[in-house]
Protein backbone atom coordinates (compact mmCIF):
# COMPACT_ATOMS: atom_id res chain seq x y z
CA UNK A 1 0.00 0.00 0.00
CA UNK A 2 1.18 3.53 -0.73
CA UNK A 3 1.53 5.59 2.40
CA UNK A 4 2.15 8.77 0.46
CA UNK A 5 0.77 9.35 -3.00
CA UNK A 6 1.50 12.67 -4.62
CA UNK A 7 -0.03 13.46 -8.00
CA UNK A 8 0.95 16.45 -10.11
CA UNK A 9 1.41 18.61 -7.07
CA UNK A 10 2.23 22.21 -7.90
CA UNK A 11 2.80 25.12 -5.60
CA UNK A 12 3.52 28.71 -6.47
CA UNK A 13 4.04 31.39 -3.84
CA UNK A 14 2.55 34.24 -5.79
CA UNK A 15 4.81 34.20 -8.81
CA UNK A 16 7.77 32.45 -7.29
CA UNK A 17 8.09 28.73 -7.77
CA UNK A 18 7.71 26.24 -5.00
CA UNK A 19 7.33 22.90 -6.76
CA UNK A 20 6.02 22.06 -10.22
CA UNK A 21 4.08 18.96 -11.20
CA UNK A 22 5.59 16.69 -8.59
CA UNK A 23 4.39 13.08 -8.50
CA UNK A 24 5.70 10.14 -6.49
CA UNK A 25 4.67 7.34 -4.20
CA UNK A 26 6.11 6.11 -0.96
CA UNK A 27 5.27 2.59 0.12
CA UNK A 28 4.62 1.32 3.58
CA UNK A 29 7.78 0.53 5.54
CA UNK A 30 10.08 2.38 3.19
CA UNK A 31 12.74 4.93 3.99
CA UNK A 32 12.36 7.33 1.14
CA UNK A 33 15.14 9.82 0.58
CA UNK A 34 14.26 13.16 -0.89
CA UNK A 35 17.31 15.00 -2.08
CA UNK A 36 18.00 18.29 -3.70
CA UNK A 37 19.87 21.50 -3.01
CA UNK A 38 18.53 24.33 -0.90
CA UNK A 39 15.49 25.94 -2.45
CA UNK A 40 14.67 22.95 -4.66
CA UNK A 41 11.29 22.46 -3.01
CA UNK A 42 11.93 19.74 -0.41
CA UNK A 43 10.41 21.64 2.48
CA UNK A 44 7.60 22.88 0.28
CA UNK A 45 6.66 19.28 -0.51
CA UNK A 46 6.66 18.26 3.14
CA UNK A 47 4.71 21.34 4.19
CA UNK A 48 2.12 20.60 1.52
CA UNK A 49 1.72 17.06 2.82
CA UNK A 50 1.14 18.43 6.31
CA UNK A 51 -1.27 21.09 4.95
CA UNK A 52 0.82 23.85 6.44
CA UNK A 53 0.49 25.33 2.97
CA UNK A 54 -2.04 24.61 0.24
CA UNK A 55 -1.28 23.44 -3.30
CA UNK A 56 -1.86 25.61 -6.34
CA UNK A 57 -2.93 22.46 -8.16
CA UNK A 58 -2.65 18.70 -7.93
CA UNK A 59 -3.37 16.51 -4.97
CA UNK A 60 -1.73 14.43 -2.30
CA UNK A 61 -2.89 11.44 -0.33
CA UNK A 62 -1.46 10.21 2.93
CA UNK A 63 -2.61 6.86 4.32
CA UNK A 64 -4.93 6.77 1.30
CA UNK A 65 -6.77 9.90 2.40
CA UNK A 66 -6.73 13.38 0.97
CA UNK A 67 -4.03 15.34 2.75
CA UNK A 68 -6.08 18.49 3.07
CA UNK A 69 -9.62 17.26 3.63
CA UNK A 70 -8.52 14.72 6.25
CA UNK A 71 -5.59 16.71 7.59
CA UNK A 72 -6.25 16.47 11.33
CA UNK A 73 -7.03 12.75 11.15
CA UNK A 74 -3.92 11.98 9.09
CA UNK A 75 -1.66 14.00 11.34
CA UNK A 76 -2.55 11.80 14.30
CA UNK A 77 -0.11 9.24 12.89
CA UNK A 78 2.52 11.61 11.59
CA UNK A 79 5.68 12.75 13.29
CA UNK A 80 7.30 15.86 11.88
CA UNK A 81 10.74 17.26 12.46
CA UNK A 82 11.02 20.68 10.80
CA UNK A 83 14.34 21.83 9.39
CA UNK A 84 14.39 24.87 11.63
CA UNK A 85 13.40 24.07 15.18
CA UNK A 86 11.96 26.95 17.15
CA UNK A 87 9.92 26.67 20.26
CA UNK A 88 7.82 28.78 22.54
CA UNK A 89 9.66 31.36 24.54
CA UNK A 90 10.39 30.56 28.16
CA UNK A 91 9.24 26.96 27.94
CA UNK A 92 11.17 24.08 29.42
CA UNK A 93 11.95 21.03 27.34
CA UNK A 94 9.75 18.82 29.47
CA UNK A 95 6.77 21.18 29.21
CA UNK A 96 7.07 21.38 25.47
CA UNK A 97 7.26 17.61 25.14
CA UNK A 98 4.24 17.22 27.39
CA UNK A 99 2.36 19.84 25.39
CA UNK A 100 3.24 17.97 22.23
CA UNK A 101 2.17 14.62 23.72
CA UNK A 102 -1.13 16.07 24.89
CA UNK A 103 -2.34 16.22 21.30
CA UNK A 104 -2.25 12.46 20.92
CA UNK A 105 -4.29 9.92 22.78
CA UNK A 106 -1.29 8.19 24.18
CA UNK A 107 0.49 7.70 27.41
CA UNK A 108 3.80 8.82 26.04
CA UNK A 109 5.54 9.58 29.31
CA UNK A 110 7.73 6.53 29.41
CA UNK A 111 8.69 6.77 25.76
CA UNK A 112 9.45 10.43 26.20
CA UNK A 113 11.93 9.68 28.94
CA UNK A 114 13.47 6.79 27.02
CA UNK A 115 13.95 8.87 23.90
CA UNK A 116 15.35 11.84 25.79
CA UNK A 117 17.77 9.63 27.62
CA UNK A 118 18.83 7.98 24.38
CA UNK A 119 19.35 11.33 22.65
CA UNK A 120 21.06 12.74 25.76
CA UNK A 121 18.56 15.53 26.12
CA UNK A 122 18.20 17.34 29.42
CA UNK A 123 14.52 17.75 30.18
CA UNK A 124 14.71 20.56 32.69
CA UNK A 125 16.51 23.09 30.55
CA UNK A 126 14.77 26.05 29.00
CA UNK A 127 14.55 25.66 25.26
CA UNK A 128 15.80 29.23 24.67
CA UNK A 129 19.06 28.31 26.35
CA UNK A 130 19.71 25.29 24.15
CA UNK A 131 22.20 25.22 21.32
CA UNK A 132 21.03 24.54 17.80
CA UNK A 133 21.98 20.86 18.02
CA UNK A 134 20.18 20.41 21.32
CA UNK A 135 17.10 22.13 19.96
CA UNK A 136 17.23 19.65 17.14
CA UNK A 137 17.16 16.83 19.69
CA UNK A 138 14.03 18.34 21.21
CA UNK A 139 12.55 18.23 17.74
CA UNK A 140 13.52 14.59 17.29
CA UNK A 141 12.00 13.46 20.57
CA UNK A 142 8.95 15.61 19.92
CA UNK A 143 8.47 14.05 16.49
CA UNK A 144 8.83 10.47 17.73
CA UNK A 145 7.22 10.36 21.13
CA UNK A 146 3.71 9.48 20.01
CA UNK A 147 4.97 6.49 17.96
CA UNK A 148 3.83 7.80 14.58
CA UNK A 149 3.40 5.50 11.59
CA UNK A 150 4.90 8.05 9.23
CA UNK A 151 7.87 10.30 9.88
CA UNK A 152 8.73 13.47 8.02
CA UNK A 153 12.33 14.41 8.63
CA UNK A 154 13.35 17.70 7.07
CA UNK A 155 17.14 17.91 7.09
CA UNK A 156 17.21 16.23 10.47
CA UNK A 157 20.94 15.91 11.01
CA UNK A 158 21.87 19.58 10.71
CA UNK A 159 23.47 20.66 13.95
CA UNK A 160 23.98 17.15 15.33
CA UNK A 161 27.52 15.99 15.95
CA UNK A 162 28.64 12.81 14.10
CA UNK A 163 28.15 10.63 17.18
CA UNK A 164 24.66 11.92 17.69
CA UNK A 165 23.94 11.52 13.96
CA UNK A 166 24.81 7.86 14.21
CA UNK A 167 22.59 7.38 17.22
CA UNK A 168 19.84 9.18 15.39
CA UNK A 169 20.22 6.95 12.32
CA UNK A 170 20.12 3.86 14.52
CA UNK A 171 16.95 5.18 16.08
CA UNK A 172 15.36 5.78 12.69
CA UNK A 173 16.37 2.30 11.51
CA UNK A 174 14.85 0.80 14.65
CA UNK A 175 11.62 2.69 14.07
CA UNK A 176 11.68 1.52 10.48
CA UNK A 177 11.96 -2.14 11.44
CA UNK A 178 8.84 -1.62 13.55
CA UNK A 179 7.10 -0.71 10.31
CA UNK A 180 7.38 3.05 10.40
CA UNK A 181 7.57 4.71 6.99
CA UNK A 182 10.15 7.47 6.78
CA UNK A 183 10.27 10.42 4.43
CA UNK A 184 13.79 11.74 4.71
CA UNK A 185 14.67 15.04 3.13
CA UNK A 186 18.28 16.08 2.88
CA UNK A 187 20.92 17.69 0.76
CA UNK A 188 23.64 15.50 2.24
CA UNK A 189 23.90 12.48 0.00
CA UNK A 190 26.06 10.34 2.20
CA UNK A 191 23.40 10.07 4.84
CA UNK A 192 20.68 9.34 2.34
CA UNK A 193 22.88 6.62 0.89
CA UNK A 194 23.34 5.09 4.33
CA UNK A 195 19.71 5.10 5.29
CA UNK A 196 17.32 5.07 2.38
CA UNK A 197 15.88 2.36 0.14
CA UNK A 198 14.70 4.68 -2.57
CA UNK A 199 15.40 8.25 -3.48
CA UNK A 200 13.66 11.02 -5.30
CA UNK A 201 15.83 13.77 -6.66
CA UNK A 202 14.29 17.19 -6.90
CA UNK A 203 15.76 20.10 -8.74
CA UNK A 204 14.31 23.56 -9.24
CA UNK A 205 10.93 22.34 -8.10
CA UNK A 206 10.78 19.36 -10.42
CA UNK A 207 11.42 15.68 -9.80
CA UNK A 208 14.30 14.64 -12.04
CA UNK A 209 14.62 11.03 -10.96
CA UNK A 210 12.99 8.51 -8.68
CA UNK A 211 14.93 5.36 -8.28
CA UNK A 212 15.99 2.52 -6.10
CA UNK A 213 19.16 3.60 -4.42
CA UNK A 214 21.00 0.48 -5.61
CA UNK A 215 19.88 0.69 -9.18
CA UNK A 216 20.76 4.34 -9.15
CA UNK A 217 24.31 3.39 -8.23
CA UNK A 218 24.75 0.05 -9.96
CA UNK A 219 22.70 -0.12 -13.09
CA UNK A 220 22.67 3.41 -14.22
CA UNK A 221 26.15 4.77 -14.18
CA UNK A 222 29.72 3.62 -14.17
CA UNK A 223 32.58 5.85 -13.43
CA UNK A 224 35.40 5.09 -15.85
CA UNK A 225 39.05 6.16 -15.62
CA UNK A 226 41.41 5.32 -18.43
CA UNK A 227 45.09 6.13 -18.32
CA UNK A 228 47.24 5.87 -21.43
CA UNK A 229 49.82 7.74 -23.45
CA UNK A 230 48.61 9.91 -26.30
CA UNK A 231 45.03 9.29 -25.46
CA UNK A 232 42.46 11.09 -27.58
CA UNK A 233 39.49 11.93 -25.36
CA UNK A 234 37.26 12.34 -28.39
CA UNK A 235 37.57 8.60 -29.01
CA UNK A 236 35.40 8.01 -25.96
CA UNK A 237 32.67 10.30 -27.06
CA UNK A 238 30.22 7.44 -27.36
CA UNK A 239 26.48 7.53 -26.88
CA UNK A 240 25.87 7.18 -23.13
CA UNK A 241 29.04 8.97 -22.11
CA UNK A 242 28.72 12.09 -20.03
CA UNK A 243 30.99 14.33 -18.05
CA UNK A 244 33.95 13.55 -20.30
CA UNK A 245 37.11 15.06 -18.85
CA UNK A 246 40.76 14.61 -19.66
CA UNK A 247 43.99 15.69 -18.07
CA UNK A 248 47.61 14.47 -18.21
CA UNK A 249 46.83 11.44 -20.28
CA UNK A 250 43.90 10.44 -18.14
CA UNK A 251 40.31 10.34 -19.32
CA UNK A 252 37.41 10.27 -16.93
CA UNK A 253 33.75 9.95 -17.73
CA UNK A 254 30.41 8.58 -16.62
CA UNK A 255 28.87 5.90 -18.71
CA UNK A 256 25.31 4.68 -18.91
CA UNK A 257 24.43 1.77 -21.17
CA UNK A 258 26.08 -1.42 -22.38
CA UNK A 259 29.53 -1.45 -20.83
CA UNK A 260 30.87 -3.61 -23.72
CA UNK A 261 30.88 -0.58 -25.97
CA UNK A 262 33.39 1.07 -23.68
CA UNK A 263 35.43 -2.08 -23.25
CA UNK A 264 35.78 -2.43 -26.99
CA UNK A 265 37.08 1.10 -27.21
CA UNK A 266 39.53 0.51 -24.42
CA UNK A 267 40.80 -2.75 -25.89
CA UNK A 268 41.89 -0.84 -28.99
CA UNK A 269 44.25 1.30 -26.92
CA UNK A 270 47.49 0.52 -25.16
CA UNK A 271 46.42 1.51 -21.62
CA UNK A 272 48.45 1.99 -18.45
CA UNK A 273 45.52 1.68 -16.10
CA UNK A 274 41.77 1.27 -16.17
CA UNK A 275 39.22 1.50 -13.38
CA UNK A 276 35.52 1.08 -13.71
CA UNK A 277 33.60 1.77 -10.55
CA UNK A 278 30.23 2.74 -9.20
CA UNK A 279 29.93 6.45 -8.72
CA UNK A 280 29.07 7.75 -5.29
CA UNK A 281 25.65 9.22 -4.94
CA UNK A 282 27.35 12.56 -4.66
CA UNK A 283 28.67 12.24 -8.20
CA UNK A 284 25.36 11.08 -9.58
CA UNK A 285 23.78 13.98 -7.85
CA UNK A 286 26.20 16.53 -9.24
CA UNK A 287 25.55 15.02 -12.61
CA UNK A 288 21.85 15.78 -12.26
CA UNK A 289 22.58 19.29 -11.27
CA UNK A 290 24.70 20.30 -14.19
Amino acid sequence: MSIIEVSNLTKYYGKSRGIVDVSFKVDEGEIFGFIGPNGAGKSTTIRLLLSLIYPTSGSAKVFGKDAIANGPEIRRNIGYLPSEVFYYEGMKVINLLKYSASFYNCDCDQRMHELSEYMELELNRRIDDLSYGNKKKVGIVQGLLHSPKLLFLDEPTAGLDPLMQRKFFDLIRKENTRGVTVFFSSHILGEVQRLCNRVGIIREGKIVEISDIRSLQQNNYKKVHVMADNLDPAAFNLPGVTNLQSENGMVRFFFKGDINAVLQKISGVQVDDVTIEEPTLEEIFMHYYE
Binding site: R75, R76, Y88, F103
Partner: protein, 269 residues
Protein backbone atom coordinates in the same frame (compact mmCIF):
# COMPACT_ATOMS: atom_id res chain seq x y z
CA UNK B 1 -12.06 23.80 20.89
CA UNK B 2 -8.93 22.06 22.02
CA UNK B 3 -8.35 22.18 25.78
CA UNK B 4 -4.56 21.79 25.44
CA UNK B 5 -4.14 24.75 23.16
CA UNK B 6 -6.50 26.78 25.32
CA UNK B 7 -4.52 26.05 28.47
CA UNK B 8 -1.21 26.68 26.77
CA UNK B 9 -2.34 29.97 25.24
CA UNK B 10 -3.86 31.14 28.49
CA UNK B 11 -0.67 30.42 30.41
CA UNK B 12 1.47 32.23 27.83
CA UNK B 13 -0.58 35.38 28.46
CA UNK B 14 -0.89 35.13 32.23
CA UNK B 15 1.97 37.52 33.02
CA UNK B 16 0.63 40.08 30.64
CA UNK B 17 -2.85 39.85 32.19
CA UNK B 18 -1.44 40.38 35.65
CA UNK B 19 0.57 43.42 34.57
CA UNK B 20 -2.34 45.03 32.75
CA UNK B 21 -4.63 44.35 35.69
CA UNK B 22 -2.23 45.95 38.14
CA UNK B 23 -1.89 48.96 35.85
CA UNK B 24 -5.63 49.37 35.66
CA UNK B 25 -6.12 49.01 39.41
CA UNK B 26 -3.45 51.65 39.94
CA UNK B 27 -4.93 54.09 37.43
CA UNK B 28 -8.44 53.69 38.80
CA UNK B 29 -7.61 54.02 42.47
CA UNK B 30 -5.05 56.81 42.10
CA UNK B 31 -7.46 58.86 40.02
CA UNK B 32 -10.31 58.16 42.43
CA UNK B 33 -8.18 59.20 45.37
CA UNK B 34 -8.08 62.80 44.13
CA UNK B 35 -11.87 62.92 43.77
CA UNK B 36 -12.55 64.20 47.35
CA UNK B 37 -10.40 67.28 46.81
CA UNK B 38 -11.92 67.81 43.35
CA UNK B 39 -15.44 67.57 44.73
CA UNK B 40 -14.75 70.27 47.34
CA UNK B 41 -13.64 72.78 44.75
CA UNK B 42 -16.05 71.62 42.08
CA UNK B 43 -17.69 74.94 41.24
CA UNK B 44 -14.37 76.65 40.90
CA UNK B 45 -13.01 73.84 38.83
CA UNK B 46 -15.90 73.68 36.39
CA UNK B 47 -15.63 77.43 35.96
CA UNK B 48 -11.94 77.22 35.18
CA UNK B 49 -12.44 74.38 32.80
CA UNK B 50 -15.04 76.24 30.81
CA UNK B 51 -12.31 78.75 29.99
CA UNK B 52 -10.04 76.13 28.47
CA UNK B 53 -9.95 75.85 24.70
CA UNK B 54 -12.48 73.23 23.59
CA UNK B 55 -9.78 71.34 21.63
CA UNK B 56 -7.81 70.77 24.82
CA UNK B 57 -10.84 69.54 26.72
CA UNK B 58 -11.75 67.27 23.84
CA UNK B 59 -8.28 65.78 23.76
CA UNK B 60 -8.71 64.61 27.33
CA UNK B 61 -12.32 63.58 26.85
CA UNK B 62 -13.61 66.25 29.20
CA UNK B 63 -16.10 68.01 26.97
CA UNK B 64 -19.30 68.42 28.97
CA UNK B 65 -17.92 66.49 31.92
CA UNK B 66 -19.09 67.52 35.35
CA UNK B 67 -16.18 66.62 37.59
CA UNK B 68 -18.11 67.42 40.75
CA UNK B 69 -20.25 64.27 40.51
CA UNK B 70 -18.85 60.81 41.03
CA UNK B 71 -20.12 59.53 37.72
CA UNK B 72 -18.83 62.60 35.90
CA UNK B 73 -15.46 62.11 37.46
CA UNK B 74 -15.62 58.41 36.77
CA UNK B 75 -16.22 58.97 33.05
CA UNK B 76 -12.82 60.62 32.98
CA UNK B 77 -11.20 57.58 34.64
CA UNK B 78 -13.15 55.21 32.46
CA UNK B 79 -11.73 56.78 29.33
CA UNK B 80 -8.22 56.03 30.55
CA UNK B 81 -9.24 52.48 31.37
CA UNK B 82 -10.67 52.20 27.85
CA UNK B 83 -7.35 53.23 26.32
CA UNK B 84 -5.57 50.55 28.35
CA UNK B 85 -8.15 47.92 27.50
CA UNK B 86 -7.96 48.81 23.82
CA UNK B 87 -4.19 48.42 23.72
CA UNK B 88 -4.31 45.17 25.68
CA UNK B 89 -7.01 43.66 23.47
CA UNK B 90 -5.20 44.94 20.38
CA UNK B 91 -2.02 43.29 21.61
CA UNK B 92 -3.72 39.94 21.95
CA UNK B 93 -5.48 40.31 18.61
CA UNK B 94 -2.37 41.27 16.65
CA UNK B 95 -0.28 38.61 18.38
CA UNK B 96 -2.82 35.79 18.32
CA UNK B 97 -1.37 34.03 15.30
CA UNK B 98 1.39 36.40 14.17
CA UNK B 99 3.74 35.73 17.09
CA UNK B 100 3.51 32.03 16.42
CA UNK B 101 4.30 32.55 12.75
CA UNK B 102 7.11 34.97 13.41
CA UNK B 103 8.81 32.63 15.85
CA UNK B 104 8.07 29.69 13.59
CA UNK B 105 6.23 27.70 16.21
CA UNK B 106 3.25 27.56 13.87
CA UNK B 107 4.80 24.54 12.17
CA UNK B 108 4.79 22.71 15.47
CA UNK B 109 1.18 23.53 16.23
CA UNK B 110 -0.36 23.00 12.82
CA UNK B 111 1.39 19.67 12.26
CA UNK B 112 -0.54 18.37 15.28
CA UNK B 113 -3.82 16.54 14.69
CA UNK B 114 -6.01 19.62 15.03
CA UNK B 115 -7.85 21.65 12.44
CA UNK B 116 -7.11 25.31 11.87
CA UNK B 117 -10.60 26.22 13.01
CA UNK B 118 -10.02 24.37 16.28
CA UNK B 119 -6.74 26.21 16.74
CA UNK B 120 -8.35 29.59 16.19
CA UNK B 121 -11.31 28.73 18.43
CA UNK B 122 -9.00 27.79 21.27
CA UNK B 123 -6.73 30.77 20.78
CA UNK B 124 -9.61 33.22 20.65
CA UNK B 125 -11.27 31.72 23.68
CA UNK B 126 -8.02 31.82 25.65
CA UNK B 127 -7.44 35.46 24.71
CA UNK B 128 -11.04 36.24 25.59
CA UNK B 129 -10.62 34.61 28.99
CA UNK B 130 -7.54 36.75 29.63
CA UNK B 131 -9.43 39.87 28.63
CA UNK B 132 -12.34 38.91 30.85
CA UNK B 133 -10.04 38.71 33.85
CA UNK B 134 -8.90 42.27 33.17
CA UNK B 135 -12.54 43.23 32.63
CA UNK B 136 -13.49 41.89 36.06
CA UNK B 137 -10.57 43.75 37.56
CA UNK B 138 -11.97 46.97 36.11
CA UNK B 139 -15.36 46.21 37.67
CA UNK B 140 -13.94 45.48 41.08
CA UNK B 141 -11.53 48.40 41.19
CA UNK B 142 -14.19 50.82 39.93
CA UNK B 143 -16.63 49.87 42.66
CA UNK B 144 -13.83 49.81 45.22
CA UNK B 145 -12.85 53.34 44.14
CA UNK B 146 -16.41 54.56 44.60
CA UNK B 147 -16.71 52.97 48.05
CA UNK B 148 -13.41 54.38 49.22
CA UNK B 149 -13.59 57.90 47.86
CA UNK B 150 -17.27 58.84 47.43
CA UNK B 151 -17.13 61.15 50.49
CA UNK B 152 -20.86 60.85 51.00
CA UNK B 153 -21.75 62.03 47.51
CA UNK B 154 -24.72 60.75 45.56
CA UNK B 155 -23.90 58.04 43.12
CA UNK B 156 -25.90 56.44 40.33
CA UNK B 157 -24.68 52.84 40.13
CA UNK B 158 -26.94 52.07 37.16
CA UNK B 159 -24.99 54.31 34.79
CA UNK B 160 -21.72 52.92 36.06
CA UNK B 161 -22.90 49.36 35.40
CA UNK B 162 -23.91 50.49 31.93
CA UNK B 163 -20.39 51.78 31.32
CA UNK B 164 -18.77 48.65 32.71
CA UNK B 165 -21.02 46.35 30.69
CA UNK B 166 -19.74 47.95 27.49
CA UNK B 167 -16.20 46.73 28.18
CA UNK B 168 -16.68 43.20 26.90
CA UNK B 169 -17.94 44.37 23.51
CA UNK B 170 -15.22 47.00 23.40
CA UNK B 171 -12.53 44.38 24.03
CA UNK B 172 -13.87 41.99 21.42
CA UNK B 173 -13.76 44.85 18.90
CA UNK B 174 -10.03 45.43 19.38
CA UNK B 175 -9.25 41.73 19.61
CA UNK B 176 -10.97 40.93 16.33
CA UNK B 177 -9.83 44.02 14.43
CA UNK B 178 -6.26 43.34 15.57
CA UNK B 179 -6.54 39.74 14.43
CA UNK B 180 -7.92 40.51 11.00
CA UNK B 181 -5.30 43.20 10.37
CA UNK B 182 -2.54 40.81 11.44
CA UNK B 183 -3.80 38.29 8.89
CA UNK B 184 -4.00 40.89 6.14
CA UNK B 185 -0.53 42.38 6.43
CA UNK B 186 2.38 40.32 5.26
CA UNK B 187 4.35 39.91 8.44
CA UNK B 188 4.19 41.55 11.84
CA UNK B 189 7.64 42.01 13.28
CA UNK B 190 6.49 43.48 16.55
CA UNK B 191 2.98 43.57 17.94
CA UNK B 192 3.23 46.67 20.15
CA UNK B 193 3.48 49.40 17.47
CA UNK B 194 0.38 48.00 15.84
CA UNK B 195 -1.69 47.81 19.01
CA UNK B 196 -0.53 51.23 20.20
CA UNK B 197 -1.32 52.66 16.80
CA UNK B 198 -4.76 51.12 16.72
CA UNK B 199 -5.58 52.04 20.33
CA UNK B 200 -4.32 55.62 20.34
CA UNK B 201 -5.35 56.23 16.75
CA UNK B 202 -8.93 55.34 17.50
CA UNK B 203 -8.85 57.33 20.72
CA UNK B 204 -7.64 60.46 18.97
CA UNK B 205 -10.12 59.96 16.16
CA UNK B 206 -12.91 59.85 18.70
CA UNK B 207 -11.62 62.68 20.89
CA UNK B 208 -11.40 65.18 18.06
CA UNK B 209 -14.52 64.03 16.27
CA UNK B 210 -16.86 66.82 15.29
CA UNK B 211 -14.31 69.39 16.32
CA UNK B 212 -12.77 70.16 12.98
CA UNK B 213 -15.23 70.22 10.16
CA UNK B 214 -17.45 67.35 9.19
CA UNK B 215 -15.98 63.91 9.07
CA UNK B 216 -17.63 60.55 9.41
CA UNK B 217 -14.36 58.84 10.13
CA UNK B 218 -15.22 58.80 13.82
CA UNK B 219 -17.89 56.24 13.05
CA UNK B 220 -15.28 53.50 12.85
CA UNK B 221 -13.78 54.08 16.27
CA UNK B 222 -14.94 52.06 19.23
CA UNK B 223 -14.19 54.98 21.55
CA UNK B 224 -17.01 56.83 19.82
CA UNK B 225 -19.27 53.80 19.88
CA UNK B 226 -18.92 53.65 23.65
CA UNK B 227 -18.31 57.33 24.43
CA UNK B 228 -18.64 57.50 28.24
CA UNK B 229 -19.93 61.07 28.11
CA UNK B 230 -22.74 60.06 25.79
CA UNK B 231 -23.68 57.09 27.97
CA UNK B 232 -23.75 59.21 31.13
CA UNK B 233 -25.67 62.02 29.50
CA UNK B 234 -28.34 59.76 28.03
CA UNK B 235 -28.29 56.96 30.58
CA UNK B 236 -28.21 54.59 27.61
CA UNK B 237 -25.98 53.38 24.78
CA UNK B 238 -25.95 54.98 21.37
CA UNK B 239 -27.69 51.98 19.83
CA UNK B 240 -26.87 52.51 16.13
CA UNK B 241 -23.20 52.99 16.93
CA UNK B 242 -23.13 49.94 19.20
CA UNK B 243 -24.69 47.87 16.44
CA UNK B 244 -22.08 49.21 14.04
CA UNK B 245 -19.40 48.20 16.54
CA UNK B 246 -20.74 44.67 16.83
CA UNK B 247 -21.03 44.44 13.05
CA UNK B 248 -17.37 45.43 12.59
CA UNK B 249 -16.33 42.79 15.14
CA UNK B 250 -18.41 40.08 13.50
CA UNK B 251 -17.12 40.88 10.03
CA UNK B 252 -13.53 40.92 11.34
CA UNK B 253 -13.97 37.57 13.04
CA UNK B 254 -15.59 35.88 10.05
CA UNK B 255 -12.90 37.27 7.76
CA UNK B 256 -10.20 36.13 10.21
CA UNK B 257 -11.45 32.56 10.20
CA UNK B 258 -11.57 32.49 6.43
CA UNK B 259 -8.11 34.01 6.09
CA UNK B 260 -6.55 31.78 8.71
CA UNK B 261 -8.03 28.55 7.40
CA UNK B 262 -6.88 29.34 3.86
CA UNK B 263 -3.54 30.71 4.87
CA UNK B 264 -0.12 29.46 3.81
CA UNK B 265 1.93 29.33 6.98
CA UNK B 266 5.13 31.25 6.27
CA UNK B 267 8.47 29.58 6.81
CA UNK B 268 12.12 30.44 6.64
CA UNK B 269 13.52 30.44 3.14
Amino acid sequence: MNANIYRHEFRMRLNSVIIWSIAIIAITLIFFSIFPSFADQATLLNETMSKFPPALLAAFGMTGVDLSTIIGFYSFIFLFAQVCLAIQAGNYGFGLVSIEERELTADFLISKPVSRAQILNSKLLAAFTSLTITNLVVWVSSFAGVMLFRVGREFDSKTMVLLLLSIVVFQVFFLSVGLVVSLLVKRIRSVTPYSLGLGFGMYVLSAFSGLEGVSNLELITAFKHFDPNYIIEHGAYNTPLVLLNVAISVVSLVASYWLYIHRDIPSVV
